[in-house]
Symmetry: C2
Subunit: 176 residues, 2 copies
């Protein structure tokens, strides 16, 4: 083996054939359209995608602190500030002083906030459901495992909801 006519695969570590352009592009296209769903709704409220992300996670993890939210969104405090302030001023989110540590501000959605969060999730959920059906997905758990495995290992704890037993946390009980 290793005939002189063959490219030296040990040194040329990557050529096009080795790269999974198919899934790279499918992820791009899928996410492009997935995120486009809520935009029309958001525009009617004068909000953008940043508001959506904040509202989503506050709704899903009620009581999370500002620091936790920053870690989930992977943005800085200053980037969050403007968006969060608007959501609070307009009555979608409330802050309450942390019970254990009074420096912390726990974030909760108001009823108005929950309603909007759900309204934004509806088209995304519908798209997912239609895609699962259309693709004839039988092993949904495999899809969840794949997506979770795409997340940086040290950040996978963020994927799981805190303090909720009834939630689907795709089979493996142990945290990794």
């Amino acid at each position: 083996m290793n005939s002189p006519m063959k490219p030296d695969r040990q040194h040329v570590a990557h050529d096009e054939a080795d790269l999974d352009f198919t899934l790279i592009e499918l992820l791009f296209f899928a996410y492009r359209d997935f995120t486009s769903d809520p935009d029309a709704i958001l525009a009617r409220y004068g909000f953008g995608r940043a508001h959506h992300r904040v509202l989503h996670f506050v709704n899903r993890r009620p009581g999370l602190t500002v620091a936790e939210l920053l870690a989930v969104l992977r943005i800085t405090k200053q980037s969050l500030a403007r968006v969060l302030k608007q959501l609070i001023n307009m009555g979608y989110i409330v802050q309450v002083q942390g019970p254990r540590d009074r420096r912390q501000r726990e974030l909760y959605p108001t009823k108005k906030g929950r309603t909007l969060a759900l309204a934004l999730a509806v088209p995304q959920s519908r798209r997912i459901r239609a895609a699962l059906e259309e693709a004839g997905i039988e092993d949904r758990a495999a899809l969840e495992r794949f997506l979770k495995a795409m997340v940086n290992p040290e950040l996978r704890a963020q994927v799981d909801l805190p303090g909720r037993s009834a939630e689907r946390t795709s089979e493996r009980g142990k945290t990794e």
Copy 2:
């Protein structure tokens, strides 16, 4: 039927239980980290994600026109202009007059452009490969079908590479 104590499911079309928050969040987290991979590389070139997307699609669809690129990226001409101009000026992309329609500018990567495009794809491809393995994906085709089904039906043609039979990615494309 329709007892006064039960919520009216026919009118309240969506409550939390109906919504696929699990996959909504998994898509968010997976894509968040997936896109973070090339950032370090791009920063060394003074480029951002916009440059990455342009270079990626020019590399993958050599000869595509400006209008086609705009449709794929779903941005406006003005948004593309600055980024494309930089990539051209810095020698990553070349424009050639369209053969059929001389108004069109066909876009091609230079060798330098192809090299960078591949370098950016490497960590993304590695992440995908590791996730497929870690998740023990056996039915890769199902995953591809799902992601493609997530794309707006009228835009699915964009997903398929033009003028290429199946998976063959031979070297067409003009040299600089």
